[in-house]
Symmetry: C3
Subunit: 680 residues, 3 copies
């Protein structure tokens, strides 16, 4: 295999999804129909064998790959490629019974019973050995099969439950070893965890135990390191699997990530895989409108793309509805196309589904699928999929090779999230980094400004504007990187409760680590019930409502742009800007409503001369993403409104699908997405 081209990955837009023929092997007529319907729906790629361990190794060391080979051969013969999964996401029953150490132990110290999926201890040598064995066998058997184009490692590492963790003795030992490698001495660890507090000094590594509601559950240093360790330990497991599948194969590897998934640091993870992919299940139709859901989903698409700054795969999505939400609403007409093309717009080179066909039984039998229990291809959903398939076929050549190239960047950081959400203070127990982050992202989406989203370890040199909301923790080197960025002309925007602690969650003493760049000193931070303590700030003769968090700061060299209008901090700075070197640094002291951020961002982006290049007046709910290559820019114009929307073009554009030339007023249907490029 030639070298994997990250930009042009797979050279065509993929369309397909999770396929479970292993549930239907005794129904050849179903398998036959599958191929026919896939071709009808323009499916060119399926994921196979994700939970097929029990079929692949029905008893210990007895492998049966024949059925899988037949399926892959047949798919390939019909022009359908395979993303081949390793089956580690769910162990077979015989393994759990024979080797109980493979099962997780709860934080109460109780061994789980067999069941569910994502149910294994990542530290278990037995489990590792068994997975390695089957992965290598799969590599040997399928690693050079022309129908197989990539490896799909396990499934949704970390599990359904965001807190799924193993506390067994093997994990304790591994955790202690990880700590020893990190801290070298107990003195270092005791200082980092501030263990003199509450007399928690550790005098022997064996005294350390994972956090548990049945033991320690407040020691921030321990909890933060445990989160780092569990992300690391699962990644070690994944790396073992990568090595196993690569034993006889050069195919690229990926694993399917999940939306704003707290337990895993996906920036760390991304490094170990050849390309990135994720499973997107936004909560359409459950709010008054789709805008915040659409923005949030776009935000994570952009984050995923930023991991490698390259195209990614949308690995799972539903063609219809899911079955695990409190309310499971059908996708309204056009929404399937729009939500699928949103992924493409943000850098995906695929639209893949969970699932191709609904199973007859068990817990996902009512989960949306391309093919239902009844009615074959004569369903609304099948036709939606087919229609989208046609659009992908028609646009693939123009899209492959393009990618988004933002000038704006936001800082999202898993360590920061882990530490921040664990803070005792503010609205304790109610600090949601994702909600806060998305609040600061939203105006960019409204404006159709593509944005990279990276963590504190990434380079900032490519960007004109960096936005770092609730950047509570500063990792080593981060402050200097920002200092240099601003000095060289960058615009940096941050806010209250930033720069509070170092990488060990120890408070910075004396002053904010960027006090010189920001030109301010921080003092207190107030959190209120806004019903009783409303406040506003005055900015450019506009008044904006303040939310529940308010920093009380003092300027040194900064200029005050806005001040509080009420309460005992009336007149205190609420927004400051500081000229530093060639650049500027903004500090938003008060956490404000969205209209403030919209106003501020528009002002700053205008000054910095940053636009989305799409020469039009948009309306609320219509957004733009832009993929480009050397020759062209493709504008994905997306209407997330439940009603028609009008936009007004100032230049002339071509619809790349219909070839129609658009000028002046254009009407988008509810949930319509158009792909335009400028006429030459």
């Amino acid at each position: 295999m030639e070298k994997f081209d990250q930009l042009k990955m797979f050279n065509t837009l993929l369309h397909g999804g999770d396929y479970n023929p292993d549930q239907w092997l005794d129904h050849p007529e179903v398998l036959k129909e599958d191929i026919e319907l896939m071709k009808k729906a323009h499916i060119n790629c399926v994921s196979l064998a994700i939970f097929a361990w029990a079929k692949l190794e029905p008893e210990e060391n007895v492998y049966d790959f024949k059925w899988l080979k037949d399926i892959i051969d047949n798919l390939y013969a019909n022009g359908i490629y395979t993303l081949l999964a390793t089956p580690s996401g769910a162990m077979p029953a015989w393994l759990a019974t024979k080797y109980p150490e493979c099962l997780e132990v709860t934080e109460q110290g109780l061994r789980r019973y067999y069941g569910e999926r994502h149910n294994f201890c990542h530290s278990s040598p037995v489990y590792q050995e068994k997975v390695k064995a089957i992965d290598e066998k799969l590599s040997q058997c399928f690693g050079k099969h022309p129908g197989v184009i990539a490896w799909h490692i396990s499934n949704e590492f970390g599990g359904d439950d965001q807190d799924s963790q193993c506390h067994c003795e093997l994990c304790q030992i591994a955790f202690r070893k990880w700590l020893k490698d990190k801290y070298q001495t107990l003195d270092n660890l005791n200082h980092a965890w501030w263990n003199n507090f509450w007399s928690h000094t550790i005098t022997d590594w064996d005294q350390i135990h994972s956090p548990s509601m049945q033991g320690e559950h407040e020691l921030h240093g321990l909890k933060l390191d445990w989160k780092r360790f569990t992300s690391y330990q699962k990644l070690q497991f994944a790396k073992m699997e990568i090595q196993a599948v690569k034993k006889y194969s050069d195919l690229p590897v990926t694993t399917n990530m999940m939306t704003f998934f707290k337990p895993l640091d996906y920036y760390q993870w991304g490094k170990e895989f050849d390309f990135v992919s994720w499973d997107s299940y936004p909560e359409w139709h459950l709010e008054e409108d789709e805008l915040s859901v659409a923005s949030r989903n776009a935000c994570f698409h952009q984050l995923i793309r930023s991991i490698k700054k390259a195209p990614f795969l949308l690995m799972e999505s539903t063609p219809s509805m899911v079955n695990w939400k409190p309310i499971n609403t059908l996708k309204r007409p056009n929404m399937h196309e729009l939500s699928s093309l949103q992924a493409i717009a943000c850098g995906s080179n695929s639209v893949q589904y969970f699932q191709w066909r609904k199973g007859r039984g068990s817990s996902e039998k009512f989960h949306g699928a391309v093919v239902d229990h009844r009615n074959h291809d004569n369903t609304r959903v099948f036709n939606d999929v087919k229609k989208l398939g046609e659009r992908l076929v028609n646009t693939s050549d123009q899209i492959i090779g393009t990618i988004n190239k933002p000038e704006v960047c936001m800082i999202y950081d898993w360590d920061n999230r882990w530490a921040l959400e664990d803070v005792q203070g503010l609205e304790r127990g109610n600090i949601n980094y994702d909600l806060l982050f998305n609040h600061y992202y939203r105006p960019l989406w409204d404006m159709g400004i593509d944005t990279d989203i990276v963590d504190m370890t990434y380079d900032l040199d490519d960007y004109k504007v960096v936005i770092a909301p609730f950047n509570y923790m500063y990792k080593p080197g981060y402050a200097d990187k920002v200092r240099k960025f601003v000095k060289n002309g960058g615009i940096y925007i941050t806010n209250c409760f930033s720069g509070e602690v170092d990488e060990n969650d120890l408070c910075f003493m004396d002053h904010h680590p960027l006090s010189d760049v920001l030109g301010i000193n921080t003092e207190e931070i107030d959190t209120v019930d806004v019903r009783y303590w409303p406040n506003e700030i005055e900015f450019d003769d506009h008044s904006f409502n303040v939310k529940n968090i308010r920093a009380l700061i003092h300027t040194t060299t900064a200029k005050v742009l806005a001040s509080y209008k009420q309460d005992f901090y009336q007149g205190y700075p609420a927004l400051t800007v500081n000229e530093y070197g060639q650049g500027k640094a903004y500090f938003i002291a008060s956490h404000n409503d969205l209209d403030f951020l919209s106003y501020l961002y528009q002002k700053i982006l205008k000054q910095a001369n940053i636009t989305n290049h799409f020469d039009a007046k948009l309306t609320l709910g219509v957004t733009i993403n832009t993929r480009k290559d050397q020759e062209k820019e493709l504008f994905f114009v997306q209407n997330f409104n439940r009603n028609k929307a009008e936009i007004y073009l100032n230049s002339s554009y071509e619809n790349i699908e219909t070839k129609q030339i658009l000028q002046h007023q254009v009407t988008l249907e509810p949930f319509e997405c158009m792909i335009l490029k400028k006429t030459k």
Copy 2:
């Protein structure tokens, strides 16, 4: 003893309740007063020894029945009969300490400590042996006592907690054996549970474990079979007890059931007992009015009667209030009579209380009782009871021998409930079969139409109309039974999310099992937040609001009676009817507000010429039940309004208690119940 006459059971209306002299043996003055007050209150029957094990067998194999014999003798001498209980509902402390295996194990695998009641493992051989021994001794001692009229087996099987279940190793073994008997082979089991999904294939029976949040908690097949098993296992225990008490006795046996109690399939249970009885604790006075509570209580009375299609006993009720609700409100004046006579109206041959006298201590000391801690017979409650007692004495002869004979039947099915409430889809985790079922029952209650309520295994031939709401599961043979019923002229009414799965919770493929009878094809099912997706249907020029669940269907031979007015399925069928053979089948695609069902039922019943035979115009909140024999119909006219109600008679009726002749306008006091029959 002559054969037990189910229709005339006990030949007189019983009045009494749970009596616990074992708490007062050292207070002979209390015991003496009990007899005096019972006679004053027209008590003719008490339940004895329900939780008296520690008094009956104070140490292992040492029995003391003397006190009980004295009590029963004395009651009998005073004209009061005894329903004699077996004491298995709560084990004595010595037993738990000596034989820990008798205590349940939680789903975490932890053995419970001694305490509470309903606290035993039904699989424990030791517990079974100990219960059998004491039951046989009770049978020997009291089985032919002239004062004892029936056996009351244990108490409220299944416990206070709807999830009370034992997960001990003995239960695991019993469960596996039950599965082996049912499925014969693991292939059958794996197919039924759809175990290829998530690689759950079982290759050894010993791999099977009960569902647990600490292990498998989503596998529908396993969970459904576990529910069936636990209902079965408890029933085996009850059958063992039945056999034990019948060893030396021919008396009929019963056990006290509970309202819409999920864990036990009471239709299966009913078969094993000579008559059915239940404990009714409706939540009077806690809502804006009493109507939905009254309707729900009537619904379960009707279900209980339908189990054997014979009179039943109201085994427990409170004369005043309970003490275990979030708010414990006193019964308002007249409500005690009304709620007691509601039971009689629906087929009960008794009004029994928990409890005769309040204990001094422990957890039910503030539970309503006929006799309070203070004031002897000089209380509002005692007088209410006494007054009711007089009414029972006066009407007993006329009521005994009558029974309700409905022409309408509804399908309520425990397997369906277990499967439906476990569905992942719709409003997952919020699917309440009882609420849904009662919604479809309510208009019948409003109209005063008596209704049988049976499960899918019962015969339908006796009925003109069968209503099967949310009949998600179709058991084997059910579809054919309905097909024949409609073919022969029956009217069948069903709705969205019916006919989805077979008895293993496996989806029916290709088409709805009654698609021919209903004349439709089903496609999708939408669940929405109605705040954002309101909808209405148009039916006979009326508009009705649609609730959160909406099926999208297509007609084949059916006629569309109503259509959706909004959303992308505007114009889709919302209500259809299909002529099939001599009958008709209605399909309600949209789950609608109550007024729709009222309108629809009235229309259908009118066409089918079904009435309650009571020739009057009722007002809302006044309902009718009808008990009849060869010669007469007794109409129980019940006003559940908090205010007076007027009804308008078109014929002339006699009040069977006052002998008054009623014509034209009649006024019912708040919560008044009159018993009328047509004048000759």
Copy 3:
């Protein structure tokens, strides 16, 4: 040391707080700054070593007290006294690892892991021995140090979690022994717990197990005794510590109590300590106004003072905000002074903080402190503390030696609380004795009437009025004490659901234990949803709303003052008064809104000629507490309003701080507190 003078304790108002130099020993510049800033802020007393075990005994039997001695010496040299703590509140990690028996066992029977604080088994002989050893060593080393003025035993006994309890086998044994000592025979225990109910008869002491959701959790007698035992067992532990620190020292001892802390009977506890102290963290600024929070805090201040009827110490409070509430709001300007002086006003001889300086790490790093991570003494908070320090210095001489001397008393009783909140009945699970009690306390606070708050074992002779709301349990001798109190001219006020049970939670039979004194018979008690069952009572031509609880009573000799206006008990007595001997007894049958109690109390206090001696017309939110000695009365006039308040003086007063003479109209700033005395 001379005898500890409870009235003049410590001879000066203390100002200081928890000081943790053990977190900063490697930062001598920090320790140096501490002394400088303390002196600036008028700090004269710190609490030391509260959680310093790991520093004091870094490995088993190896003690290091040197650093502590240096700190104490240095503080003393700078005029700052030390309250020296024993470190038992949090064990070091080495101890937990070596002696797992020291760790608590949960109610599931699972041993906790090491972590948090208040994490030890109070029954463990090993833990007791280790604590005793270090306490005695501290006594020996510091017991006569001139800088140390008292012992601070452990910390907040009973832990953060109100349910923190150990269920280990050592505790089971201790519990059984405690029961054996109490009941002597199982017959006595079985009767007290009413164990014939549900067959719970105990036939061997070893059958007894602590209450647990995994076993018995409803048996009131068991639960009540377990609460008594756990309070007792912790107190035994505290007494062991008291003995240990007194081994080489005559210093007085205290321990820091917590607001309305359910698990410990502080009246019992108070007896064992030389003086009482507590940690006050009211929820300022989280409601629409501060009044209910201020009243509740005053209520507990008064309770704490009443324990010994002597001055107490405010041992902890925050100078700014806490970090563990759902919303952590900064103290508004003046609030720090007001809330601190509220403590003094109610009898405190100190204002102590948690904490002097914020730590850099772990769970309290964002908890309010005098000194922040940044800005040294240049903060709003530091200046607030300093300003208060000046006021304490200026007023100390006048305040020391004074104390509040109420004529009104309320009965608050821990046994009553434990039993009442466990009642099954009324609004089961929602009975909050503290909320109910504070409802009946609030009007006294509004009127500025100082009130003692004692339990049923205290003498009543000092008072003119005794108010006993929701006095459900009557301990032995209580009824007679009240009888004598009223006979001798006292005014007794009680209400519905009083006098229901004896000390074993067994219902009183036949009549209310004070039916003669109250002149009534009780019958039923109604609990309703007031939305559906509103009611009012008519009293002196005023109408007052009735809340959810309504007793139905009958008068014998009492006079009816108010009656119900609605429902079936319209016309029933709602408020009665009975002349008995020289006194009067009021019974409030209906639980009413606050305005009723205000009206009633004003009327009664006026008749009894009870005032606060402060000759002025107050406005809502301005309250008075009065400390006095032989020569003077000091009036603490406190404005808890967020706005200015006007009061109107009818006499002339001197502000003891400014020496200003005040007459007629006086304006208080928001949250201002003035200390006044009458001009001579």
